[in-house]
């Protein structure tokens, strides 16, 4: 089990990571989700040992790794730009880590073939890595990291440089491989779709802090803060003032929200109005349609007051609509 304890890091005088702690259990995949500049890649590099933290510690199975150099940590790392060795062919790239471990040639060949098979690159062994497509290069990088059977796998935005269709394919393969090998993994991305597809647990990083942690379903249903709701694009975040029990004054009228937080009258809060229509809800969003966007199985409607709703039938621009939606209190 990987344990990250109270990691602090400043970069050029500015705080980059601020008291980061979390664990990765046996066979668990966690995703560090955050915008660029949130410090997620730096955190990964600190875990890999490629960078030092200012304070805090990293341990694996209770063994402190803080002063262990990267090549002795046995953590696999997959980079966004693949970092394949251009002077070695596919086989030799995948075999690199095994050679470093002074393995028998027979065992090396067996493992290289196995790893390439696992990423669907059987028969590619003698190709030059510079002749491969982006997707194939990333598969080689993955095979290279898998071949040593590391005790932890780390991915730094591995699919960022690939186009959408390829990204989906690789993501599903990766999901299968992580399940099959049961190697614990940390996956860094800014793409929530990737994070929610892969993760057993999602950690949302913002301004150097973990602001939300939980299973994808948990995070989705309870974003718990205006930032997370906005970052995940869950719906309309509306400012409101508490005017009574479960009553909130907003710019869109008085909304009734069942709220378990302990608010006082006059408190400023954020409310989340989910854009999907829900028949039995008490709150109604009203407005004049200013834009209609087709989105495969629905239409995304933008109203003149800035709110969004999803509808099955497209209204006309200029039409007045009223939609019942679910509203939550984000505190």
């Amino acid at each position: 089990m990987l344990e990250v304890h109270h990691i602090f890091k400043t970069y050029e005088g500015k705080p980059l990571l601020n008291d980061i702690s979390f664990t990765v259990a046996e066979g668990e995949t966690i995703c560090l989700l955050g915008a660029s500049g949130s410090g997620k890649s730096t955190l990964l590099r600190i875990i890999a040992g490629l960078e030092d933290s200012d304070s805090g510690s990293i341990s694996f199975n209770r063994q402190d790794l803080t002063s262990t150099p990267p090549h002795l940590r046995d953590f696999g790392l997959v980079f966004q730009d693949y970092a394949l060795f251009p002077h070695l062919n596919v086989n030799d790239n995948v075999a690199f880590g095994l050679r470093m471990r002074r393995m028998e040639q027979v065992e090396i060949s067996r493992r290289v073939a196995g790893s390439l098979e696992m990423v669907n690159l059987g028969g590619f062994g003698n190709r030059s890595v510079t002749d491969l497509s982006g997707g194939e290069q990333q598969r080689v990088a993955l095979a290279r990291a898998l071949a040593t059977r590391p005790r932890l796998l780390m991915f730094d935005e591995p699919l960022g440089a690939l186009d959408r269709a390829l990204r989906e394919d690789l993501l599903n393969e990766l999901r299968g491989i992580l399940h099959q090998t049961e190697i614990p993994a940390i996956y860094v991305t800014h793409d929530q779709e990737e994070a929610f597809t892969l993760a057993d647990r999602v950690l949302i990083l913002h301004d150097g802090e973990i602001i939300r942690e939980g299973t994808p379903a948990d995070v989705w249903t309870n974003p718990e803060s205006a930032f997370v709701a906005g970052f995940l694009g869950l719906g309309n975040v509306v400012d409101g003032t508490v005017i009574g029990k479960n009553k909130f004054q907003t710019g869109h009228g008085i909304l009734t929200v069942k709220c378990t937080h302990k608010h006082l009258k006059g408190d400023k809060v954020h409310l989340l109005a989910r854009p999907l229509p829900a028949e039995k809800e008490a709150n109604v969003i009203r407005g004049v349609v200013s834009d209609v966007i087709f989105q495969q199985d629905r239409f995304k409607i933008t109203l003149d007051n800035g709110l969004n709703v999803y509808l099955q039938e497209a209204p006309k621009v200029g039409e007045r609509v009223a939609v019942r939606v679910k509203v939550e209190c984000l505190a």
């Binding site: 150099p69 090549h71 953590f75 696999g76 980079f79 970092a83 060795f85 690199f96 470093m100």
Partner: protein, 567 residues
């Protein structure tokens, strides 16, 4: 061993960081290359300056002579540049806009002369157009003089430098957005207006830059002028050589050297100004869409005519040389009675014979061995000095950024001037054959550094990190990542140094001992002697040198990193 690997880390630091403080490792890196430069370049330079700025040197008479020499140097360089543009611009257009069979071959052919030693080019033109050359001996009635004329010099300069125009202007032309041309036409511009108002203004930076580069090469040209024109064409280079070896006057030679150095420095600064400005202008896009097959009759005529012109212009001198070295076309000196005309290998076998009354005290083939020995020493020395400097310059500190142009400075000073500096400074050691590889290293070092440094800088830190996350220790990272990647660049740099040393003419002519001639020096001496046998041997030697050089060029091309750019 420190384990810090963060953003600001340099590979030099990691490689040499065996608990040595940073400043100390940098000093260790610079120790050898800087001492070498100080001893073999800056010290001789200071001696030249001291000799120049001396009341007995700066006389009206000397200044007048320097001025007239400078004027002629300017004149011939300007004329050569204009003529080179006349051939180069249509050729650049040909390569940038048209597709035709054998295009890449023709492009290589136009580029080969640029790498060839001056003696080879001079010998090639001699073999074709000289008084003993193919045309003269095959058509005895033609009675034109070529060797010893200004035209010979100009022709050889065009031969050398057309490739610069083709590459620089051609690249700019093929990266022009064809939509601009279409836009201008749709706005009512005819072909002439499109060129005058759109294309030429966009090409201007590359035109200036390439012309300046050509001018710089013509301005400092030595071997071509001496061997094809003769010493009556006194450019700065030739005059320095004369004032060192033939009509000794070292202070005048020093004055001319300083004049030369000041001029080349000004041109080099102008050149780097232009190149730094000319980059951002044009949006990069695929060069393909500009290129087409010649369609109209006029286009086809233009393409065919230029293919013929270029291939004969570049092929004839280069092929005359080996041809002439294998055919006896006239009687040898002192040869009476029956003369065997036609195919012969005599010129080559004669190279192995030590004849009394020959130009040398040793069999001429020794020149080849000397050259290879000098070249080997140059390779070793320039790698030894170039590697640490390239490592330091791959990620330079602020101070080291100042050192960078300093290292390149020997490039700006001419070879003849380097020779002069050696003579003034190390006169006592002139009997030693050791000076030659030192002079050659001075010329080769900038190229070696420029070949290795980008390779070092091009190794992404990610590769090292990937290797270390796969379990490679810092030493294993160097062994498995840095070293194999640098091996190609090192071989390319070594081949560069080897080629430069083989062909170096100006400095060697001044400082080599008569009993240790190099191939270029031997060719010069053969050419300056009467007799068909001497001439034939010059051709044979030049052919050997040409083949060695072409083999080296092919090797460099093979080792060169992809995308490492041109010039």
């Amino acid at each position: 061993m420190s384990r810090t690997i963060n953003h600001g880390d340099t590979e030099t630091r990691r490689l040499f960081d065996f608990s040595v403080p940073l400043w100390l490792s940098r000093i260790l890196l610079w120790l050898l290359p800087l001492s070498f430069l100080i001893i073999s370049f800056f010290f001789p330079l200071s001696r030249i300056l001291a000799l120049t700025f001396n009341l007995s040197t700066i006389t009206t008479e000397n200044l007048q002579l320097a001025f007239s020499v400078l004027t002629f140097t300017f004149y011939q360089a300007t004329l050569s540049t204009i003529l080179t543009l006349l051939l180069g611009l249509p050729s650049a257009y040909l390569f940038a806009r048209y597709n035709f069979h054998g295009k890449s071959l023709l492009r290589v052919l136009t580029a080969v002369p640029f790498m060839l030693p001056t003696v080879v080019v001079a010998a090639g033109f001699n073999a074709l157009l000289g008084p003993r050359g193919l045309i003269h001996t095959l058509f005895p009635l033609s009675s034109f003089n070529f060797i010893g004329t200004l035209s010979a010099i100009l022709l050889a300069h065009i031969f050398y430098n057309t490739t610069i125009i083709i590459r620089v202007v051609g690249n700019a032309l093929s990266s022009l957005d064809p939509k601009l041309e279409g836009a201008a036409r749709s706005l009512g511009a005819d072909s002439f207006r499109v060129w005058w108002n759109v294309i030429l203004p966009l090409l201007r930076p590359s035109l200036f830059a390439s012309s300046l580069l050509v001018f710089l090469f013509d301005f400092t040209s030595f071997g071509v002028i001496l061997l094809l024109g003769g010493s009556k064409f006194s450019t700065l280079e030739v005059e320095i050589y004369l004032r060192v070896l033939k009509l000794p006057n070292l202070s005048l030679a020093a004055l001319l050297s300083v004049t030369q150095l000041v001029c080349t420095l000004i041109f080099s600064i102008l050149y780097s100004r232009f190149t730094s400005r000319s980059t951002a202008q044009i949006a990069p896009r695929s060069a393909e869409s500009n290129i087409r097959k010649p369609g109209t009759l006029r286009e086809r005529f233009f393409v065919a005519a230029f293919i013929f012109l270029l291939s004969s212009f570049f092929l004839l001198p280069l092929s005359s040389l080996p041809l002439r070295s294998l055919f006896r076309l006239e009687a040898d000196r002192g040869q009476r009675g029956e003369v065997q005309y036609g195919f012969t290998t005599d010129y080559y076998t004669e190279l192995f014979v030590n004849r009394r009354g020959s130009v040398f005290y040793v069999p001429p083939i020794r020149a080849t061995l000397n050259s290879i020995g000098y070249a080997g020493a140059t390779v070793a020395l320039s790698l030894l000095l170039g590697f640490p400097a390239a490592f330091a310059l791959a990620k330079p500190t602020r101070l080291e950024k100042i050192l960078d142009p300093l290292i390149m400075l020997p490039l700006g000073s001419s070879a003849v001037m380097l020779g002069l500096g050696f003579i003034i400074s190390f006169g006592a050691w002139l009997t030693s054959p050791l000076l030659v590889p030192f002079a050659h290293t001075l010329v080769a070092l900038p190229f070696v550094i420029r070949a290795i440094q980008p390779a070092i800088a091009s190794i992404p830190e990610r590769l090292r990190q990937a290797a270390s996350s796969l379990g490679a220790s810092p030493l294993e990272v160097w062994k498995n990542i840095d070293f194999p990647i640098l091996r190609r660049a090192t071989l390319a740099a070594a081949t560069f140094a080897f080629t430069i040393s083989l062909g170096e003419f100006g400095a060697t002519l001044l400082i080599s001992r008569p009993e240790y001639p190099t191939i270029p020096v031997a060719i010069e001496r053969f050419l300056s002697q009467p007799g068909g046998l001497n001439y034939g041997q010059a051709m044979a030697m030049a052919t050997i040198l040409m083949l060695l050089t072409i083999a080296s060029i092919l090797l460099i091309e093979k080792f060169r990193l992809p995308n490492s750019g041109e010039f």
